[in-house]
């Protein structure tokens, strides 16, 4: 059906074309070898040993043959190449979990060595990618999102055995976001099934579990939030940012008038959901595509407003609040007048205009805020950026570029603490830092 876009006289490949391709391949391979040698040397120096002989390991084809078949159900324990991870989470600096697409299945993989190696834990999860997931420890995990069912529902699945088996939680119909602090788990739940057309605004409630997701009860008061059931609220339009077991923010981005005008709405609770207060949404109306929020502490909030996106560019604005969302100040912006009706903000240039944040990001896992001054941002189809001045300026993470990350991918960035972090470029590879500055590629 795209024949009219064909080249009427396509060139025929020649020996010269093949030579050019092989030369490119050789350059790619050298870059890989250089990176691997760098890792080996660092490891050798840290162990205080001298390597006097060549080190050789199993070839990728031997190690990952089962995975590479891309067919059938894999056995638990089957090695998974880190180049095929879709998204990762870590509990501490050693134990991690990853979603992986394998053939028709979405599987769960697990690492016990900081992400160096991965093995299948559950070969066929009850959801499809792009699902979202979270683990509160090595045993208890939560899985939700992905494409809604034919009935317009999005379920929450829980595990208490490290992801080997999953049970469906008795909440719904649309589980939009989940956050666990120890056994204390909150879920933001839309009360209407997702509908393609003509859907009304629908109340959003917060359900709470204090036993690792086994039993659930509604939070005390109905939050003053609503969602637009016409859109897939499961992944991008509702976000839960929990600070402590009792304090949390819920951000929704929905049609406020029943028409096409989208706007954010922010609510706050300090008493475990018993009462809710509204907070002002600072985003100008022309940022009409999405918003995402993150917090480093009780009162420190970061809110990114996103415009329509086009050709890899999206106008963005970062607002900061140090009093829990009562007052906001513009920290940085990426102006793209063509996408914001000609309007530009001050503080332009601090944020990268390249790449997309919400609603194109993977869940809300592309913004990691560590402290009131330090954060990482990984816009979809762009590269990873970091700030150390509270978001006023953002620079490319140089250590990642040196470690071989090629811009243009999508994925997520997670930090276990101020120094241990991972960047997963979906379907490309996994990189880790253990000092917050230097990065290394893990696995094949």
């Amino acid at each position: 059906m795209f024949e009219h876009l064909d080249d009427p006289e396509p060139p025929d490949p020649t020996h010269r074309t093949l030579g050019g391709v092989l030369a490119r391949a050789a350059r790619l391979r050298r870059r890989r070898v250089t990176a691997v040698l760098g890792v080996v040397m660092v490891a050798a120096l840290s162990l205080g040993i001298v390597i006097g002989v060549a080190v050789s390991g199993p070839s990728p084809s031997q190690t990952f043959a089962a995975f590479d078949s891309q067919t059938g159900l894999l056995a638990a324990g089957t090695p998974v190449p880190s180049s095929d991870l879709a998204s990762v989470v870590f509990v501490g600096d050693v134990h991690g979990f990853a979603l992986v697409v394998h053939g028709a299945q979405t599987l769960l993989a697990e690492s016990g060595d900081g992400g160096d190696t991965w093995r299948v834990t559950d070969p066929s999860l009850p959801v499809s990618f792009p699902a979202q997931f979270e683990f509160s420890d090595t045993a208890h995990g939560y899985l939700w999102g992905g494409p809604p069912s034919s009935a317009g529902t999005v379920a929450l699945w829980t595990t208490s055995n490290g992801g080997r088996t999953w049970g469906r939680a008795g909440i719904g119909p649309v589980v939009s976001d989940v956050s666990a602090i120890g056994p204390d788990v909150w879920a933001v739940v839309g009360t209407c099934a997702i509908r393609a057309t003509g859907a009304p605004l629908c109340p959003v409630v917060v359900d709470v579990s204090t036993d690792d997701g086994r039993t659930w009860a509604p939070a005390g008061a109905t939050s003053p939030l609503s969602e637009n059931a016409e859109v897939s609220v499961s992944d991008e339009n509702i976000e839960l940012a929990r600070i402590t077991r009792t304090r949390a923010y819920v951000l929704t981005f929905a049609s406020q008038t029943g028409t096409s005008e989208m706007a954010g709405s922010l609510s706050y609770t300090a008493d475990g959901g018993e009462t809710w207060a509204s907070r002002r949404d600072p985003c100008p109306p022309y940022f009409d595509f999405g918003q995402q929020i993150a917090a480093s502490g009780t009162d420190d909030l970061w809110l990114i407003c996103a415009s329509q996106a086009s050709s890899g560019t999206q106008a963005k604005a970062l607002y900061r609040s140090s009093d829990g969302g009562v007052q906001w100040a513009l920290a940085a912006a990426a102006n793209a007048p063509v996408l914001t009706g000609g309007t530009v903000l001050g503080a332009g240039g601090g944020l990268p205009s390249a790449g997309y944040v919400t609603p194109y990001s993977l869940g809300h896992e592309n913004l990691a805020v560590l402290t009131p001054t330090t954060a990482w941002l990984f816009p979809d189809r762009s590269g990873a950026f970091e700030t150390t001045d509270g978001g006023r300026t953002w620079g490319v993470v140089a250590g990642l570029a040196r470690a071989g990350v090629v811009n243009g991918g999508s994925g997520n960035v997670v930090f276990a603490d101020a120094t241990h972090g991972w960047v997963c470029v979906t379907g490309t590879g996994l990189w880790r830092t253990t000092d917050g500055r230097n990065w290394q590629r893990l696995g094949p």
Partner: protein
């Protein structure tokens, strides 16, 4: 034991495939050749893992590279840096197609790219992706619906041209 497939033996076939999907997105011969070469170089590096079924991988990577190339080209245009060979009758259609493809969920995009951009039969798409023909049909149908919606939403009437064939 079956003899391993050599990269050189299937190179021409893979190159034509990569060039075709790249050109459909880019509409520029030089860019499409560059993308095809890059995709094939990446395939060569991974050949031990890909050699049993490289075609789907090459189509997917070529499409992604082409979409990225088109995106960078658009950015260069908007910033006043004029790239070569942009005067092309179907350019807006290609840009809209690339944007629409990017917005598809990963699985739908893989199916739509293989089925409609590379013109593969359903059975071959199923074999390449390791799923059933029914799954391919389902993803293709949903993907097309998304494409239609996306192109129509841009008000360019492109959605009418997006329909299943064959």
């Amino acid at each position: 034991m079956a003899e391993a497939v050599r990269f050189e033996d299937v190179f021409a076939d893979l190159y034509r495939l990569a060039y075709r999907v790249s050109f459909r997105v880019l509409g520029d011969r030089g860019d499409a050749e560059d993308v095809a070469q890059e995709a094939l170089a990446r395939a060569h590096v991974r050949w031990a893992r890909l050699r049993d079924r490289p075609h789907g991988w090459v189509v997917t990577v070529s499409t992604n590279l082409a979409i990225d190339r088109l995106r960078r080209r658009s950015r260069a245009t908007s910033s006043g840096i004029e790239p070569v060979a942009l005067v092309e009758t179907h350019l807006s259609e290609r840009i809209d197609l690339a944007r629409a493809l990017r917005r598809l969920p990963r699985r739908q995009r893989e199916v739509v790219v293989l089925r409609y951009l590379a013109d593969w039969p359903e059975l071959e798409v199923a074999g390449a992706l390791g799923c059933s023909p029914g799954t391919v049909k389902s993803h293709a149908s949903r993907g097309l619906a998304h494409l239609r919606h996306d192109l129509e939403e841009r008000g360019l009437g492109g959605g009418d041209d997006v329909r299943a064939s064959g």
